[in-house]
Symmetry: C2
Subunit: 317 residues, 2 copies
């Protein structure tokens, strides 16, 4: 078997050692989705669960972190959305609550890096290009998650296949891959490209521990390979979601030259909540990746993780 | 070593057996680029070289095929661009000239399949979705090339990472992967996803046997991870190329609601030739994939292929 690769996956894995986890898998920090229950479910299964801070204020996030501590004694992390208006306060709360791992998205965490590193927190920025990856490494990142545009939610331009080897050649910190990974084949593939861990979002949408509306889960379970679309390119904030009434009307409005970017920006607000909490097909933005077509059964986080890694191990053995 | 995967790559490889080649690698059929010299260079190196019929008429293609026969006694193929006005003509010429392998792009080859199969030709359609892949298999495809949107030239929506496993689950014919593959890591990765061969375009642009203008080769050699862009989405014919004066002005015009789709269509004509033959940065469309950032040296086709497969073998050994 390929010693270098399998050793990286099953022994002396950089992410397992860095984060104190059993399997090198990180659950994506998904707004309105990644809460204490899902994070605890993934962490209890041996992966790294994440609570999405999204636009929570400090006390809301503190309550979610304390709830997660009651549900697991395994390591879990928080995903900080750097565009959040409450970023300064949540940046302090994670220190006060003794969170050990942070992933960051939608920007440059440089402003908070010194205080987080000072507190002994492992900071793992999500990146979508070589230049940003190098910048994050210089800023003190403990590791990186390079995310391809096949992923759900806010995306970049590079695909996982093109991004991972180019980032792997450019940085020395451990690298995780995200985007297009929902089974053991995807894990084995990105390890070949130079990653030592995976971040998975879409498949965890249908985890038993994931509390989103059943309409959302059914939407993912029924999705085929061409079920997703990208909106928001016009305003420079592309987002991948399942094709729906909402995405269709958003595209139509987005392509209307008489509509201002400000008006388009407003359209999105509330759409994530409407999908996750209400399962509302008309008002909801159901974020998911292109790999949704491979996701066809609800399972516990434990079954998902064990199934993925047993297949990856089989491919590499 | 992973027996199933390595056996597939180095012994009893479906593509090597089907096409009578030494390495399971197909050179992309690139308009104005993939001529007799490049095809013969790749075939002599043990891969499958392809002549791009693009918009050649029957006699132009016949001359190129006969030229290739003089340059190699190894198997080579022809890529048929199904939107070509001369498609009916070239479809007959490949039979008359005894071509053994065809790849098809930009449409549905069903109309020609019976006569090609009757002539004993192996037909390998390029596909970008599960539904089209199943359609092609039903039509009699000998194998399939599933191409992700990180590839250069005309592209679909799905990325290689998302497309390959979903197509692999849907068809039984041998599957090759294209898009984002320029080194041994990419080969090993797509084999993990279920492919048994690769199609490579961008890296062969800088092959010694590739006769494109040196400006084009230098453009590829200098490209970084974010050097490509996609134009043509508005007219439903997205194309990936290196960012250039041409792509920038094309985008500007494309985003002008006062410009008609017909006018946009006209813009593209001649741009491929201007890039490949004249190296014209103002008028040329320099097609290349997102993996161009990994391509940084000119080599013979033989050195490219041997370097790629020796790395893939190392990863899988």
């Amino acid at each position: 078997m390929p010693k270098n690769i399998s050793e990286k996956m099953f022994k002396n894995n950089a992410f397992c050692e860095l984060l104190g986890i059993e399997y090198p898998i990180i659950q994506g920090g998904m707004a309105w989705i990644s809460d204490a229950e899902l994070a605890a479910g993934v962490s209890n299964a041996g992966g790294l669960g994440l609570i999405a801070a999204m636009s929570s204020n400090g006390e809301q996030l503190r309550a979610e972190i304390q709830k997660c501590k009651k549900l697991t004694d395994k390591p879990f992390g928080v995903n900080i959305m750097l565009m959040s208006p409450f970023c300064d306060e949540v940046a302090k709360v994670v220190i006060e609550e003794g969170v050990k791992v942070l992933t960051t998205g939608a920007g440059n965490p440089a402003k908070y890096m010194p205080m987080w590193l000072e507190a002994g927190i492992k900071v793992i920025p999500v990146t979508a290009s070589v230049a940003h990856a190098k910048l994050m490494q210089r800023a003190g990142a403990s590791a990186l998650i390079a995310e391809g545009q096949e992923a759900g939610g806010h995306i970049g331009e590079l695909t996982t296949m093109a991004l991972i080897p180019q980032v792997a050649d450019a940085v020395t910190v451990p690298l995780a891959a995200a985007g297009g990974i929902a089974d053991g084949r995807g894990i084995a593939a990105v390890f070949m490209l130079g990653a030592e861990a995976v971040q998975v979002g879409t498949r965890f949408l249908v985890a038993k521990e994931c509390g989103i509306h059943q309409n959302y889960k059914d939407f993912v379970l029924k999705a085929n390979d061409v079920a997703t679309t990208v909106t928001g390119r016009r305003t420079g904030h592309p987002v991948r979601s399942l094709k729906s009434e909402f995405s269709r009307s958003f595209s139509k409005i987005e392509n209307d030259p008489n509509v201002t970017d400000e008006e388009i920006g407003k359209l999105g607000s509330g759409a994530l909540r409407a999908a996750a909490k209400d399962g509302d097909k008309l008002k909801g933005s159901f974020m998911a990746g292109q790999i949704a077509g491979l996701v066809n059964k609800e399972q516990t986080a434990k079954d998902i993780i064990e199934e993925m890694f047993s297949k990856a191990k089989e491919l590499l053995s």
